[in-house]
Amino acid sequence: MFRNYLSAALRNLERNSLYAGVTIFGLAVGFAAALLIALYVRGELTYDRFIPGHDRVYVYSERIEYPGERPVLTDSSSVRVGPALKAEFPQIQYAARLTGKDLPATVKRGDFTASESNLTWADPDFFRVMPLPVVAGDLASALDEPDGLVITRAIARKYFGRDAPIGQSLLINGAPMKVTAVIQDLPPTTHLIFDMYGSTRAPQSPMPGLEKRDTPQNLVVITYVRLQPGASAAGVDMGGFVRRHFSPEQLGEASSRTRITAYLVPLTQIHLRPDIQGAYTGTDPAVLAGVGAVGVLIVLVAAINFVTLMTARATRRAVEVGVRKAAGATRRDLIAQFMGEALIHVAMAGLIAAALAELVLPGFNILVGRKIVIDYGDPILFAALPALVLAVGLAAGAYPALVLSNFRPAIVLKGGLAPSGGSALVRQMLVVVQFAVLIGLILFATTITRQTLFAINQGMRLDKNQVLLVLAKPCTDDLRDAMAAVGGVEKAACASAQALNLSVIGTKATVAGRDVGVYTGPVDYDFFGVYNIAPLAGRLFDHNRPADGYAAGAPSNPPLVINETARHKLGFANDQAAIGKTVTWPFHTDLDSAFGKDPAKPSQIIGVVPDFTFGSMREPILPMLFMVGPKVSYYSLALNLRLDRNHIPRALAGIDQVWRRFEPGDPIQRFFVTEFALHAYIDTLREAGLIVAAALVALFIAALGLFALSAYTTERRTKEIGVRKAMGAGTSAVLRLLIWQFSQPVLWANLLAWPVAFLVMNWWLHGFAYHVDQAPWVFVAAGAAALIVAWATVFIHALRVARAKPVGALRYE
């Protein structure tokens, strides 16, 4: 019996190769997309699980609530937290700190010099907390010596050409370090992005300096702990931890109003907290859920194709059903037969999908910025794909099987009334759902693209094109002036990390007896000029006014240019009202002392500039006070150069030449601000890319389905059209009739898709402090796009049928 079914199934497939091909290929494309999305989502959910004993590893985090502001979550901590945790809680076996990603370091071995951006400094116990897979050396004790250095295999090969250069030296920023262990190159699913770990006991490590400047507000390291075997994080009582280890003076006057809650976050959750500020930016679980939902929607669209085409074609199988029933087939026999057929189709789609997924995997990896592999030895994958095939096969096969098996043999065998395959209404509704999904995805894709473009282009609110950043520690007046003299460089100015939103220094400012929390950003005279920022009121800093500059030990702080947010927060009614007013604030210039020790001095506000940011659109723009700062590395990190767009190559060559004159040993670190902006939006760009790609896949599948469905239905209406033409209908009238038939579901789909998409996009956009508004034209355009796709796919069939001679149509049986 099975053989008979199989013959029928395979030959039916062969005879209806267009429909079958469309059904199977559409499903395969859907499966492939779903497979890749599933692998991506799974990868995101399983970060850091390869680290042995990961369930006992936690990262210290704080939730800081300033009155009247939205709470800040951070995984950065004060340097004293690690030792304090270890001392206070017996449940903690090891605690270790990481200084986070440092500025790129110059690494030298013999004549070979390169710049390494993934260098960090780690406490000796770090690898006891994180026993990473090791290639050579004793990892646990590798950082005990002050010159201990742990590198990845890739770095070992790069500098030494072999895997285990234990005991060999590397010059890091000019100081020798000894390779004590080599770890394996870590899989892409880890938040540990570093490939060089120096001991925090090294003299050149930033840790000693950080320890000297320690305050509770100075969140500069990441603190990890490993619990004792059998201990649980719930047993580590973090309540009051901050108050136990920092005195009220250290916490500052604001402490009574600021709530700091400390807690431990499991290692495996670090990647899934996008709202956290600090060392590491993860993936938003909500977005991940959205991406997963898109995967499900794509499979749904493909499965709907399957159902509509199977039932639409059902008429052709009517005779077979009648004969089999007359021969004594029960309904169950026929359901089994048609379900089996559906499973064969779906299984073929599954095989094609695996091949398709392999084919597009490299491109997909570029799109999502991951290194996903399809591991056929993976038992979950091995079970999941067949399970998906079975589930979709059963779900999508059920309706056609029920419809087909329900044909009345007495009717179908007479060859009279050809039964329509199932309810036309059901089929119509399925097409509506399919197009609603499609329109929804087009809407998401458009909105995400608009927001991303907004964030990269207008969102920063500054003219960053042709502006080059050169990292210099510090950016001095001499360097700046030498660079300004290079041909093709139009303007030059130094700036602090704070002005570039790379770090923050918060401080208390007093205006008219009122305390306000603000942030400081030391800049150079022409900083605003480089970015073409014009004042809204007052003026900018001026070289020719000595009083605008910084003078050590002066009775007052340098004058201020403030942004709109600061103007608002400081309580000035309008931009002009702020000009000439006095703000008292402490300028932290004694870098050897802790924050909070500097005396508050008055400054005059000389200008107000529009809000702008180099940071993420997800964060609100901070209230900024800009001033000309001292040219020390702490406040003068980068040189900002506006280049002449017509002479960029010449300017770059000149800049490199000047750099070599100033810093003969160090390679230049330069990049355009646009790249920098792109980097800040890489996660949003990936989300956008994924959703756009998914929308295209859904579009393709839906078009494929509609193409086949229209071929079928126009064929089915051949006789009707023949009659209409015989009665005098012209080609265009028939064409309109057929096109209208396929336009209706698309129009209904809009009604379904618009409100849902509006709500979802609203939610997504509100994750951004600055975002585009939802525009009605986007909705209309998405609907129109779906309609055009529908027309384009049905037009060919419709035209063919509409132009046919009626006599042929009428003879058709």
Binding site: M1, S7, R11, A326, A329, L413, K414, G415
Partner: protein
């Protein structure tokens, strides 16, 4: 024996009620060859569907070889069709996707039993209708007459007690029509009851009895060969 007592069949739509059969009573003896005639729309096909258990009467009683089948559940009707009835249709109704042999096999498929035995019976049936040499062909590769011979083989292969033929020669030329009639006569001679709907007086004359229908009623019965 087939026995209909005051069998009526009514089709209802929301607006119209159509009475296809109206209190039809008849008896058909085992091994009898009966022809049913009448103009289009007189209820011939409905009668055949009721006799073939493809449709249930709205009212009346139907004794099918001693069993009252008028109110039986679908599952039991399916079993009776499978075990006792063979069908031959005017439009052949062969499954395009299956070969000739596979089409004939469908007649046995739902009875279970070993595949080897099934294939043997398929071969016998095809030999009986002279189509064994075309066993691997597809229906579209055959002439109408050949297709109908395959359809007869399909009806015979299950060794039914009853063959119901709905205008089996309606789409065939004279020679092919005669060949199919010969097959039906042979089956009848072997003890199978044959009920055939036909428009052809010539072919009706080959039956032992002709029942004429008009507007869903039996209007005359002619005993020919007795």
């Amino acid at each position: 024996m087939l026995k209909l007592e005051k069998v009526s069949k009514t089709y209802r739509t929301t607006e119209v009620e159509t009475r296809a059969l109206s209190e039809v009573s008849m008896e058909i003896a085992p091994g009898e060859f009966v022809a049913i005639m009448g103009p289009s729309g007189c209820g011939k096909s409905t009668l055949l569907n009721v006799l073939g258990l493809l449709d249930s009467p709205t009212s009346g009683a139907y004794g099918f070889f001693g069993e009252d089948v008028a109110r039986l559940p679908e599952a039991r009707l399916t079993a009776l069709r499978r075990d006792r009835i063979g069908f031959v249709f005017q439009s052949f109704n062969l499954i395009d996707d299956l070969s000739v042999a596979e089409n004939v096999e469908v007649g046995l498929l739902y009875r279970g039993g070993p595949g080897g035995q099934r294939r043997k019976r398929v071969e016998e049936a095809l030999q009986r209708v002279g189509m064994a040499h075309r066993a691997r062909h597809k229906p579209q590769q055959l002439s109408g007459g050949q297709q109908q011979r395959v359809a007869v083989a399909r009806a015979l292969v299950s060794r039914p007690s009853l063959i119901l033929a709905d205008e089996p020669t309606g789409n065939l030329d004279t020679a092919n029509g005669e060949a199919v009639m010969a097959l039906l006569r042979d089956a009848c001679a072997a003890g199978v009851t044959v009920v055939m709907v036909t428009h052809s007086l010539v072919h009706a004359a080959e039956a032992q009895r002709t029942i004429k229908l008009l507007d869903g009623r039996v209007v005359s019965e002619t005993l020919l060969a007795a």
